[in-house]
Subunit: 309 residues, 4 copies
């Protein structure tokens, strides 16, 4: 097997030379300011070795990648009752589509489209103040990444809150069906803020390790979730993690993964590695263009696809 | 690790005791005559050992499972040009939905919904007579299963041809967009006939081995497809193999799989096992109820999920 | 021709005897309290004679009927620029569908579905405080009905504001496309309040006269709108005035009309009569059950259908 | 009131000078050969006077205008049972959309979209040979127009039959729901042929007179349909006669009308006039561009709008 360190460096070099990088997301004004040439990668293998390259220490807005962690947290709180509010099928439509909600009585297709993630946030919020719920989510990220310095980028959160009319439409729509319990502005406030968590590739790869290790945090041996739940979260990442580019990601990369419009992707090679990549340019489906290319190259060279050698 | 033989027997016993078995498909009159209590399973592990239980030697109509093999055959003939005619994203809708076609200019979402499989059949047919194309598909199945006795159930094919108006609607619709090249009745004729191939669980598990072994037929060592193509077919089975129950199958079973309305499911544990199950009762999404339950039990006990230990 | 007075009395008697009355709208709690047995009718013919029967002097919540008047007012303010924000085709879907908005970039199909009426209200609001805009709408109704006592039922407005999540979803959705200019809560506030205007059948029939008389208010001879605009508003009422029951209303009644979930219907027989009916029980499409039945009987006996003798 | 003869000549002159004429339909090869500069008009007033101008004696393919007459014929045969197979609401979508059928269990929205007209043709066919049913439709047209020379353009019918895959999709789809009773190819054969009836503006205006005169054929005094049925057919023409341009036609022209992709429009001014116009260039919704412009000018100058003076 090739050396992980060498492969990671080579891939970062290749990505730096690419000219086609996609488009930086512009619908959240704060996100549009990021350097489009940035590229970072961090890979932590099963033994805990970490290989990094490029802008792996630059914090970026994790955006929808946070949905993996809010799903994990919500399942811990309410268990499989969560699935009364959210489905787990790929949606076949874009991340912010409202059509599917109308067809299916306000129940979002899965927890990784915006509507589903808002419903999950609402479950975490229940019985708490928004500030408390947000604190809990942030502490969970810090715990998983073993790094108490992770913070929320308030400028990004405020930017989303000012412009997030489509998410407000989704939340109000679900509220009309009783799928959202808390006041819409509370749920959206928590949602916009957890999407605005800023992390580096290294921090994000650290946070993903429990999904590699059957639910255990390998730093401490603490169980985060059961092995069955870890497998199931991976399964949802594979089928639903890239909106209507999920099939393409499975086809090309062959790993469970979750992307964010900030240009990050967290990918999990079960029992092998936790991987975070970041490059702000997005493809038409809203997923990091170079990020996916880097992951495709990585799984190919390392033989990490879950679909066979 | 538990003994595969023992596990397979136990699962067959459990399934026999279950009372909730789903509904046998009634829309194809011939299929409605099958014994609803039937259950068969066959598992071939990486070393070639085979474990069977129940009605593993009873032939059943493989129906949509044939789509895995026609996709493989068509990719061999036209390569990645196939993807100009068919997408590879989960559809988020039922197996015979026509709505998606209207939204996307007649291009089916993936090769495993009916419209996509008809488009794939049309590619295999091109330049040939229907009889020749059908012969080629059947011989391919016989070769993969290493069994020249596999045949087409003509009564089932005729039954579908008489009643397959919805498939005729899909084919004509694609024809109006130029996605189908051959006369609609020719393409449909081949399609209905390859869906009517009858196989036993043992034969089907044999035929699936190349997807376990990185594209090689382990009987002969012959390469069926490249290792990359085998991984990619597995990826499409995972994301699209169970219509709008694909997310659920990934979540519960954790293996690439393809179901048919005849009640069969082919599942692939890469590098580990080729698995065929059969039980005619279907769930609401049109997938074998006991089949999926059996696969869920099997992967759990054997630790075969692709999503982690 | 039969005497209008006699016909109106007979119809009121018939309606009183009917047992099938539809269901009172329950989604706005305040509206659910109304007497389900109520029935009122008022008809003002071309010469200004007025015939009334039943509960013609009981105020009811005009709800969506107000959309005819806000459309008229907005056209007076911004002219045909209004049609950049709103279409004028029947929607083929229910009054509060959001699917159509997603397909058509946030532009509502017509000014009489909720989304379209909210967009019209937003145009009236522009450059004003909500209180001013609402005052203008109310004064316009008072002027048309020649009755300064018409008021807004604040309990109904507050009830809608507390529960109008689906309308909030529509407004936020349009805001995300820039179709709504004012703060969503301002626009919705004005919308909920003008829907909560309370009027009697007599007042409503009075207010509709300008659409009978080619745009003139016959009390004063004042021109409300041009004759062409009056015809066009009538045309939109005919094709879009009853949501996905518009075709049925045209088929059975044969007059331009606009219904509200409060159970009222305003119908216009051009050059012949302005008609208001009220009965709170609604049919499946959300239109007054007895109201439509009464109008069907009235146009038949009076020979008032616009589609021929 | 202006002289009808003068107005008709003026309008024809105006239309001849227009440069923007829309696009001739190309999806039926035979139709694409017609002269794009053609324009014809024929108006028969209530007293039977006829005013013609332009290419009023040139036969053109009436296409979907035939649906008005097949609806009339089918209502005569099966009465209101027809409405079990077809709705009467505007569809909010294009003439050949299949989406609506999937949402509503194979029941077409109205008799004037293609699916609905095919279902109506199937009702006329029942119990007959295609040749007989077609003969009956043609004789009905000849009787209404008082002209036995009207024929079917077999080249157009054959052209549609070779290329009408989308209509075949609609018919097969409805067949899968049992909405079509006869063999699909029989029903489509009759449908394609009655759409290929060729008529001049004069003939078409003659054929429409029974809808002006409360169901009576004024030549003979014979009752074609009851006055109620005539009104109702007019109502359906108004709400559904121009596909998703129906609202626009009602708004601009203000008359019940039915268009065909051959560029013809039949419009009815109840109790006043039967009007046929023809110009082959179509707008985006598939309706004659100059045809609608001519009708808009005509109703304005003659004061014929059903929505008021």
């Amino acid at each position: 097997m090739p050396s992980l360190d060498v492969v990671v460096k080579e891939i970062a070099d290749e990505m730096r030379r690419r000219t086609e990088r996609g488009e930086v997301a512009s619908y959240i004004p704060e996100l549009a300011r990021v350097d489009p040439a940035a590229f970072g990668i961090a890979v932590i293998d099963a033994t805990g070795n970490i290989a990094v390259a490029g802008d792996s220490e630059t914090p970026f807005s994790i955006q929808s990648i946070s949905k993996v962690f809010t799903l994990t947290l919500a399942l811990g709180k309410v268990g499989d009752r969560l699935w009364r509010r959210v489905g787990r099928e790929p949606s076949g439509s874009s991340f912010n589509s409202i059509v599917q909600l109308e067809r299916e009585c306000g129940i979002p297709r899965n927890p990784f489209i915006n509507a589903g993630a808002i419903a999950v946030t609402d479950l975490i919020l229940s019985g708490h103040q928004p500030r408390e719920a947000l604190g809990e989510i942030l502490r969970f990220m810090q715990f998983l990444a073993d790094d108490p310095t992770i913070t929320i980028d308030k400028a990004v959160a405020a930017s989303e809150q000012r412009t997030g009319f489509r998410n407000a439409a989704l939340a109000n729509y679900m509220k009309s069906y009783g799928v959202i319990e808390n006041p819409v502005e509370f749920t959206l406030g928590v949602y916009f803020h957890h999407c605005a968590i800023a992390m580096t590739c290294r921090q994000l790869a650290m946070a993903g390790r429990f999904l590699v290790h059957a639910g255990l945090n390998p730093s401490t041996g603490a169980r985060v979730v059961s092995s069955e739940r870890a497998r199931r979260i991976n399964a949802i990442m594979l089928t639903c993690g890239h909106y209507d580019g999920s099939g393409e990601f499975a086809y090309r990369v062959g790993l469970p993964g979750k992307s964010g419009v900030g240009g990050g992707i967290l990918a999990i090679a079960p029992e092998r590695a936790s991987i975070a990549v970041w490059s702000p340019g997005l493809d038409a489906a809203g997923n990091s263009h170079l990020g996916r290319a880097a992951l495709e190259a990585l799984t190919k060279r390392m033989g990490w696809s879950i679909f066979g050698a």
